[in-house]
Symmetry: C2
Subunit: 299 residues, 2 copies
């Protein structure tokens, strides 16, 4: 297990896109600045989708402009681009790391993008190359890598084929996403093991939804397999709107606390993260999925 | 990891003792019969405490009598005995496996039993011997083995000293309980590894509270270390009334589903467990901590 687990906060995108109510720009900016100041490594500000389709993400460009202006934080600002138009918008407003993905599930891919798996993968490879040509980082993902809410199990060969295609195109930062929350720890360790057999030098990230309560166990399985970067959501926000069954992500502050218990990432400001999660719960007026923020007393 | 993980259901005791309302005897009996019929290995019916102190457990003797009468199920009926009086009651009403524990935290031990750690351990060793002399099985536990809500970290030597005392007394079925939910996976694997170094033949069980969201990750760490028996609660009920910070256990049906994904324990009736968890949620009129029972559709 790596001594420096890279913490990639995806709640502002994966979490807030699921919320029925649109969070006001100023509130979002305050949360984002807090997340940056807490010392996380990467923060996903939003996604570049059509503002009428996903009004929760309509302020993504503006948020990038505000956070980029006079930026001194070492935290990398990431943005999710679904297509070429999104890439163009992201290049114009200050995205530092482009995230893009294609689904290993044919059904999920078609519902999500209107394209089959191979076509969607080819498209994001081209986008990743364009991002690199523009001097930006890119991370590509395999969505529904551990199973699909529509199709059920996904053959591992299909996932490995996509990873191979990414590698052949020179994209070496790769995330496997458990879009429907169907991964289990033994599977996680095995599949990431296979991925590293393709190339031990891959920068691997993981993204688990907590649908069946296995999110944290899967993160530990991934870390054990050598995965270096973990995608989580502050307060446990999150889910994917295009799968039948979805639930939040593991809460960032829960993972940070767990790592800090082990002596890892102690420089991250856990108290700050907990304060933000409490503000999220107060804002939405409900209990969030995170555990640690609910605890008043810590010994 | 063992192909046959022993499933010890402790919700009827560890869960229901935490509930503000007393569950009617007939409802409890229906849940217990369902848990037996679902094919779990051990079901903890209740604890032998003073009925005025813990009215939720006042019907424990009667439940044992009802479940023992004409019993054909291979499921073992366990009961928690806190003292000699409890042992006596349990021997009279049909307990098959006595569970008893002492805390590795001096403060927790004194609050819980009025005795220090050493005295409490000596007492339960004597009780375990008495149970064995009466032809019954006994499992002893180390409570607060991974940290304490009052004292904070608990030195591992203290836990290992208690385990050694149990072993020297000939008690070989030992559970480590994370009473305050403070364990983290690396610690779990290390501490159980140390325990097995004392004697590789110990029958080890684990009991984790989900206070900080690490329950399931800790279970997987324990299984990886060679632990053969896992204590969970149906619907995720549970917690310990004598620690400052507590939350439910991992839900039995969540663990069973996860193991079945891996091809393990497929003979356990998951649908039955889910139905019982839904009835629990309906009975209490609130969302329980389990994940799987909430999902209407399974692919």
């Amino acid at each position: 297990m790596s001594a420096r687990v890279i913490l990639h906060e995806v709640g502002p995108r994966d979490g807030l896109q699921m919320e029925g109510q649109v969070v006001p720009l100023e509130k979002k900016e305050a949360w984002l600045r807090g997340l940056l100041e807490s010392g996380l490594d990467i923060v996903q500000v939003g996604s570049f989708v059509h503002p009428e389709k996903v009004p929760q993400m309509a302020d993504t460009d503006e948020l990038f402009r505000r956070l980029s202006a006079g930026k001194t934080s070492p935290t990398v600002l990431s943005g999710l681009a679904l297509n070429e138009k999104g890439l163009e918008r992201g290049l114009a407003c200050g995205v530092e790391l482009f995230c893009m993905g294609a689904s290993a599930s044919e059904t999920h891919s078609r519902k999500n993008t209107g394209m089959g798996t191979d076509e969607a993968a080819a498209r994001i490879i081209a986008m990743a190359k364009a991002a690199a040509a523009a001097g930006k980082k890119a991370q590509v993902s395999v969505q529904s890598a551990f199973g699909c809410g529509f199709e059920g199990p996904i053959p591992e060969e299909r996932v490995l084929k996509m990873v191979s295609a990414y590698l052949e195109a020179g994209v070496r930062s790769i995330s496997l996403a458990d879009t429907a929350g169907r991964a289990h720890p033994a599977q996680v360790e095995r599949l990431f093991g296979e991925v590293f057999r393709l190339d031990p030098g891959i920068e691997c990230a993981c993204h688990f939804h907590n649908t069946y309560g296995l999110g944290m166990a899967n993160i530990y399985a991934a870390l054990r397999a050598g995965v270096g970067s973990v995608e989580t959501s502050f307060a446990g926000l999150g889910g994917c709107p295009f799968t039948k069954v979805a639930a939040g992500n593991v809460a960032t502050e829960d993972l940070v606390r767990a790592l800090q218990q082990q002596g890892l990432r102690k420089e991250v400001d856990l108290d700050r993260l907990i304060a933000i999660a409490r503000d999220v719960a107060a804002h939405f007026g409900r209990d969030m999925q995170g555990f640690v923020y609910k605890i008043q007393e810590r010994v």
